[in-house]
């Protein structure tokens, strides 16, 4: 073991330079005033005060959380059945389905999102087809609908794979047992399948909610800048206005929110398991 430990040193150095140092810089920027350099560092809480005193920023934050929550819920509802179905396929079909589910993630996120623009825009595929039967055109681009649709599309594979994994681990004879004890298919699902897939659901929620809440690329493209989420705000302060200090502060606030929500989901997960153990 000892000689292996030595082999981790380069990685530790790498991580220190490229992960820990930038994080510390963000913390440093968040608590300092604009325009100073390392020699004349001036500490301040102004950046945080500014964020929480301006309702505009809070609105954006709440909107981001709402969009992420809707996306997560939709991924769960839309993804559960496919996951359930794949878990019950024969071994060869399982592999094929998993391949099909993960296939879109091989293509760059930007390219995939551009494709949605083609589908959703005013003279896009959907509106053209609706036009043939005398409907529309409907405005779909640059709406919350488009943003959420884009996010569901991009993040649903994570949900499906997580639930699928937990369902494949389930012993099929448990369903026979529940049927034997008088439960019809729906009751068996509610009392056996669903509770046993809960760990998969929780990690699926984590894997969808986190990227959804901090995403900036999808709202940028499908929301067209009219529809700002926290990710977009941070991006703007860093890239357009050059106010790295305020951008860092928002990033820190987001990080804290994410850590908190992860902590809560972990807690829920543990109590679920713990109950079964204790009870």
């Amino acid at each position: 073991m000892k000689q292996f430990r030595r082999m981790t040193y380069p990685y530790i150095v790498w991580a220190l330079i490229l992960i820990v140092a930038p994080l510390l810089l963000i913390v440093l920027y968040a608590f300092t005033t604009k325009g100073n350099d390392v020699v004349t560092t001036k500490f301040t809480f102004d950046n945080f005060v500014r964020f929480f005193s301006d309702t505009l920023f809070l609105k954006v934050l709440i909107r981001s959380l709402r969009v992420a929550a809707i996306t997560t819920l939709a991924c769960l509802l839309l993804g559960y059945y496919p996951a359930y179905y794949i878990a019950r396929c024969s071994e060869t079909f399982k592999m094929k389905w998993v391949l099909i589910i993960t296939f879109p993630t091989w293509i760059n996120l930007l390219v995939r999102t551009y494709a949605w623009i083609g589908i959703l825009q005013d003279d896009g595929i959907i509106n053209t087809m609706l036009g043939w039967i005398g409907l529309g055109p409907f405005k779909m681009m640059y709406t919350e609908f488009a943003v959420i649709l884009g996010m569901i599309y991009n993040f649903i594979p994570f949900m499906i794979l997580q639930i699928y994994t937990s369902l494949t681990k389930m012993d099929m004879s448990l369903l026979e047992a529940s049927s034997d004890l008088g439960a019809d298919k729906f009751q068996s699902f509610l009392r056996v399948t669903l509770p046993l897939s809960l760990p998969g659901i929780i990690s699926g929620i984590t894997l969808v909610f986190l990227p959804a809440v901090s995403s900036f690329c999808i709202p940028n493209m499908l929301g067209g800048g009219q529809y700002m989420l926290v990710g977009n705000v941070i991006e703007q302060y860093f890239l357009s206005s050059g106010d790295w200090n305020f951008g860092s502060a928002i990033s820190m606030i987001m990080a804290v929110i994410i850590i908190l929500s992860m902590y809560i989901t972990k807690k829920v997960d543990v109590t679920e398991k713990g109950e079964a153990k204790r009870a």
Binding site: S173, L174, L196, A279
Partner: protein, 542 residues
Amino acid sequence: MSSELNIPNENRPAPKKLIQFRNIVKKFDGQLVLRGINLDIYENEFVTLLGPSGCGKTTLLRILGGFLAPDEGEVIFDGEDITYLPPYKRDLNTVFQKYALFPHMNVFDNVAFGLKIKKEPKDIIYQKVTRMLKLVGLEDFGKRAVHEMSGGQQQRVAIARALVNEPKVLLLDEPLGALDAKLRKGMQRELKKIQKEVGITFIFVTHDQEEALTMSDKIVIMKDGNIQQIGSPTDIYNEPVNRYVANFIGESNIVDGVMIKDYKVMFEDRQFDCVDAGFGTNEKVDVVIRPEDLDIVPVKQGKLRGIVRSTLFKGVHYETVVETKAGTSITVEMIVSEDKPVVNAAAGEMMSANDFYVDADDVAQMLESVNPDAFIIDRADAQAWDPESDERISISRLDYTLSKENGRYPVTFFTAAGTSVTVDMIVQEPNRFVAEEHGEEIYAVNFFKKADEIAESIALETDLKIWANAQAFDLEDGNPVEIVDVEYNFDPEKVTPGTYPVTFKTRGYEYRVDTTKETEVGAVVGLTFDPEDLHIMEKDRV
């Protein structure tokens, strides 16, 4: 329910047919697993479906449980056709092979599952579950998680979970399979006790004949999707209908016999009294004698005589094997030479090979074979090796001619480095022996060996069989017969050049005898039995 259960047997009304299987046929991937099963099961019976794995017993149980639908036939339960009724509508419960307890629920909730589905009031659920946990001896374990329970305890939870629903029938699919021997014994007693107490029909699937004999009221013996015999444990043990059942239920001696007339059977060229009748005159039969019904006596008092071949201490008794008639045997000559391996010092190689015998059939086979070299290398036991590292070196080329004519033909083996050895392939008449009375043929050839090779052998009997190419076959079906005995009279450590006889033997007529006293191996003894200990069965019609 419980009041009527305690009525003693004599006063109980005639048992009612509860389950009827009618001509059940089931195929998996075109393969017949059940070939038309007809079986009636009565109320309050402990029925065991007994058979080896793959006999269809579990499939039959799953059809009754509703997890499989038969391809043909119907299942009648309490007068009602339930063939296609889903499991949750059937008034029976199952204890699964691996228990299938719900891992996300504690013991209490597992047992309460069925009652909660039926939406029974909470207090009633509590009462029933508590009573059931008491029945299986787990009243203090309700709050435990399933995975904290031992195998035996999980088993009890599974039984309680099924019984709490008050089914008319409990199905048990090899439920004791995962338990160790001691726990199994305990659970067998307990299951029987529970069945008596709750007074419902238990249908128990197992491959363990002892388990079946201890627990059942009725045993159903299955083989290849057919029922072989249905009967009480004593019926089946004492009067097996055929060789298969006799073999499956307990150890048996089964010998070929001929029914001379009613109450007279002949085997081992002698006539014996028996208690069976109704066979055709001179009909060929199987005679079954249980090991515990045979006694070892002095030769003069015995009905049969034989030599004690082995004796094994089995705890309560000795299991002694007595051979009354020797197996088929053949003797060949082993010609030992003092030849040493050829040394090729320049290439750093050593090489050896022996003369060998073949017959015209072998030559014919070699002529047809794509690669006769392998056969020749094998028969001549040709080897080349590096004396320094002891590593084997491939033989790269052979030089020989094949002829079916008797005679000696030189064979030369070469390695890539040029080392070579020449031996003779001797073609002669085949050496085989056909024993009509055993229905066997045995075959072996004379062989040449070097003294070192014999001394170096680590499994001499197996090596002798390989060197002599000794094989035995059943004349009827051509299947190989095991050669159980190799006899030789030389000391392998100090064998000197010369010719030695080696004898190969198949198994003869052997009787397993359970005795309380140890008998010396090699002693000549008599065997005796009573007429009622002979169980005569029709020959299996294959």
